[in-house]
């Protein structure tokens, strides 16, 4: 094990996400990983801040990273693709434009200071890369017998500021799901866009995007979709009634947690909207 203690930046969407928080905590406990929530964290600004004022956007992201630095961490992990992408993007821009000093003048107003040394990572890297494979498989006590799962990565994990996997064909989640006993299907739509925040403002334009993702998952024989981002999960799950679809959309940590013997309640699976019966039945089969 490389590390066992990380600064954890939940982002604004985690508290209302469908069991992501519960399942992350469950899996982390089982793996002996300590996630320390940042005190006094703020919204990363997401794509909205960059659309309105670039310097404001950079300051918001820098403030989050500054807090992690002042708490003595050299790594910050987040479970949200948008937070991950935003922080990394801000870090890169501040460095390339050489404006750390100017950003710090703003942060100073709030008693913070940013150096840029912190490494921003997605939680999936911790579970997939910092844990030895044997260590992971040793706690997988209830692997799924043949649950075909479509691994949905979304856009902002690997495009373009992330460097953790291929921008169009990432595989980091595939290995975790396989270790959990799931059958991972070839999924063309794995990095298609779910519409992200446009689902709020321009739902009609986003519905065909979600339809294409769900259709590809079904065509490949998947009985569930595994996600790694609160907004992706919400968009794929919450509009299925509009689309006349019904395929469970869960978090990869919920599948991991069930495979580690966690109860459906412990991994918050009852919080998803489209019934996750197929997942629960597959999990029940081994209990």
């Amino acid at each position: 094990m490389k590390e066992s203690r990380y600064a954890f930046y939940p982002g604004c969407s985690l508290k209302t996400a469908a069991g992501y928080k519960e399942s992350i905590q469950f899996v982390a406990r089982r793996l002996g990983i300590e996630l320390v929530e940042l005190p006094d964290w703020n919204c990363c600004g997401a794509t909205v801040a960059f659309s309105i004022n670039e310097m404001e956007a950079l300051a918001m992201a820098a403030r989050v990273m500054a807090i992690a630095e002042s708490e003595g961490f050299d790594q910050l992990v987040t479970p949200c693709n948008a937070c991950y992408s935003t922080l990394r993007k801000a870090q890169k821009i501040i460095e390339e434009e050489g404006i750390t000093q100017q950003i710090n003048q703003a942060l100073q107003e709030d008693g913070k200071s940013y150096s840029g040394k912190i490494k921003v990572r997605h939680i999936i890297e911790v579970f997939a890369r910092d844990i030895e494979k044997e260590e992971l498989t040793s706690v997988i006590t209830h692997p799924f017998p043949e649950l075909p799962v479509a691994p949905y990565y979304g856009c902002q994990l690997t495009r373009p500021w992330g460097d953790l996997d291929h921008p169009e064909n990432p595989t980091i989640m595939d290995g975790i799901l396989e270790a959990s006993g799931c059958e991972v299907v070839d999924f063309t739509a794995k990095t298609y866009c779910c519409g992200a925040a446009q689902m709020v403002a321009n739902k009609e334009a986003c519905l065909p995007l979600v339809k294409a993702i769900l259709t590809d998952a079904k065509r490949k024989g998947a009985k569930a979709i595994s996600t790694i981002c609160p907004l992706c999960q919400f968009n794929l799950d919450s509009v299925q009634e509009d689309l006349g679809e019904s395929i469970p959309v869960v978090y990869f940590t919920q599948l991991m947690g069930l495979a580690m013997g966690g109860s459906p309640k412990e991994v918050g699976i009852g919080k998803v909207i489209t019934p996750a019966d197929a997942v629960l039945q597959a999990a029940k089969g081994v209990r």
């Binding site: 604004c12 969407s13 508290k15 209302t16 996400a17 469908a18 006094d40 964290w41 703020n42 919204c43 794509t47 909205v48 801040a49 960059f50 659309s51 309105i52 004022n53 670039e54 310097m55 404001e56 950079l58 300051a59 918001m60 403030r63 390339e96 434009e97 050489g98 404006i99 100017q102 950003i103 003048q105 703003a106 942060l107 107003e109 709030d110 856009c155 902002q156 495009r159 373009p160 921008p167 298609y192 866009c193 519409g195 992200a196 925040a197 446009q198 709020v200 403002a201 321009n202 739902k203 009609e204 334009a205 995007l209 919450s238 009634e241 509009d242 009852g270 919080k271 998803v272 909207i273």
Partner: protein, 196 residues
Amino acid sequence: MEATGLLKRLLELPGGDQLLRCIQCGTCTGSCPMAEAMDYGPRGLFALVKGGDIEEALHSNTFWFCASCYYCTVRCPREILITDQMYAFKRLAIEQGIKPKVSTLQMYTAFHETVKEDGRLSETKMMRKFLLGSPKDLIKNTSMASLGMKLLRRGRMELKGESVADPDKFRVMLSKARTISPEKDEITSMDSGGAA
């Protein structure tokens, strides 16, 4: 290329001259999940700019439909940071007071106001602001109430928002940030050659 007025402003933004490198191959539009909803795809938008029609470009809905998926950016053979060009268009349009016909700006405003108040985003508060500021969306989204009920039943409706410890200081920080006008170099990772 001779540029004046708004076009000159756009090209002088950091990395703004990147779009002069565009060779009109259409990889961006072919990769864009939202292209069908747009009046001009990204390629068409860049054609307008290169042709000097900045007014039409700024009144297009292209950048308001951008979902920031970055497909265009990673695929552009000329390494133009296209998604970031979309942000630049949005900021310039806002500055010019150009109101888009789609509701994206109202959503951004609701998000931005919520975060300015609390330092964090309460989705419930943002949605309330958005729908009050955009009544047509309130009427259109009849399924919103039923979705709200589903979230409430699952304990996923945030009834009491959270905030940073000192929202006043957070706001002062944002105001201070808005005054920064750094002497920016060009984005260094990209080759700036080949501009028209």
